[in-house]
Amino acid sequence: MSRMTYAEAARTALAEAMRADPRVWCVGEDLGRGGVFGQYKGLREEFGPDRVSDAPISEAGIMGAAFGAAMVGTRPVVEMRFADFALCATDELVNQVAKARFMFGGQSRAPMVIRKPMGMWRSSAAQHSQSLESWYAHIPGLVVAVPSTPQDNYTMMHAALAADDPVVYMEHKNIWALEGDVDVGEPYDWGTARRRHAGDDLTLVCWSDTANVAERAAATLAAEGIGADVLDLRTLWPWDRDGVLDSVARTGRLLVAHESVGAGGFGGEVVATVCQHAFDALRAPPRRLAAPRSLIPYAPNLEDRLRVTEDMIVAAAREMCA
């Protein structure tokens, strides 16, 4: 068990994988300096410039080139810097990386870890704050990881690096410095949620940094006698359908909370799936808490209007259990 930040956890896993497998390499802007959030600090020194490669400001080039390099048998880690900039490489990710194996009839693979730091980060405004994880969950061929703790950022980074599929790996920018204990031996199965808090009154589904908010809300609720079963999905594809259905079968109530826009967001998938498959178990209408369908403003008080807070979760849970 060691104590690490969220950023260190992923960096540690990456360094371990790079030591073990010479095919793993990283590419992105400013990686030589350790990456814009320090996620690659020290790796250039250990692995050299070929394996921790700077890149031109050229997101389409980065994604396309990494894909080509993946098809010939290397295992690239692609750094997109901010999830927002990854939109400059959408054709490459969605039309090429995600589709190649299928459309070439299984001749090729694209084992890539595509890092897209996501989420609101104080006053970064509309082009540096987006959470588009729901988009990638909708794209066949992609795995979508949204870790929320140092432990998961360690374990899941290892799993992503070991995977032969392209993994869209979205770390939340707000928690790079979050510290936690990391058990390097903890097993991991894709598509399993982590129970962040156990309870029998309501199932609270969440992911990414919202899982941290939800865990705090669950503590408050517990003090009031409301037991929240907090399931941090950790991945949106595959996602822990069975885990969620089991929990709802027990609690009879479903609340989904996520930072990204509610309309057309993956929360709808969770609610719809539960309603389709555990309809009779539901004792109250399910609810979602998510961002309104607006853009992310700069001024802090405006930005706050888009956040899903602990208070909002507590209030919704109270109402549902009333």
Binding site: R51, P56, G64, A65, V72, R101, F102, M103, F104, G191
Partner: protein
Amino acid sequence: MSRPNYDRDRGLALLTMMERIRAFERTAEQAAVRDQLVLGAIHLSIGQEAVAAGLVGALRRDDLMVSTHRGHGHTLAKGADPAAMMKELLGRQGGCCGGKGGSMHIADFGVGMLGANGVVSANITIGAGAAHGVKLLGDDRIVVDIFGDGAINRGPFLEGLNWAAVFGLPVLFVCEDNEWSATTRTADMTAGDGAGARARAIGLPVEVVDGNDAEAVADVARSLVARVRDSRAPAFLHARTFRQGGHTYFDPASYRSADDTAARIASDDPIDRQRAALGAAGVADADLDRLRSDAEAEMAAALEAAKAAPFPDADQTFTDVQDIGAPEAAA
């Protein structure tokens, strides 16, 4: 047309490949138009065969290639089996992509052909990346990265060339310039001096070649391939050719003068030119004719094989999507 020290064997090999490409495409066109067996769009490279033949003759079998929607010729030249390709066009079992890709996604990784692409220009960065992979793996293969004249107006052209030059990658970029971007004359939508000038500005060595002269393409390809292999740095070839037909097999090309096209075909068909070169070098017409009839017979057989092949097992819709979180058939 006759050259000093003319290499007859190479000349025959070039013609053979061109005849095979043309026969493949004429057969595919028949399968589409007459037999209605090709359901998706196909883009024929009739008139452009010298580029594929000349280029690929200079490559090793383990060298790599990426190509475009108009990639039958490149793929065949790289060594793919025409029957597997024809099955792919008909969406059948045994197609080189299992019937899942079709003409626009034709690929044969076994011969180093890493895929045609349905998105114009997208393969440019992908090919640079394949070369990046080769560099990291440390072997001496090279990549040939082929695209059309229309592709030079999209961002990946800039990003891919810059990438290859910055990282010193063994890739030969080839702009196969057939003058047309679908139904628009590329020149009308392209500023400046075109592909070569742009590549030169990004620091690549550039050669321009008459892409309807198979021998000339073969010569320049040999030297550029050697240069790329030795220098481990990119180079650029601008091959000027002409698309004899429409953009797809169902495009009548009514936006250009049929007379002009006919005149171009009459005077500058790469196969006619290569036959003439071989004739001048003393090869008998009958031998040349036999190359053609052999090619036609080969491709007719490929089509028969494709027709006889069953459609893929329907569960293939759900295979080779991904390992983790693979889809299930609809509920």
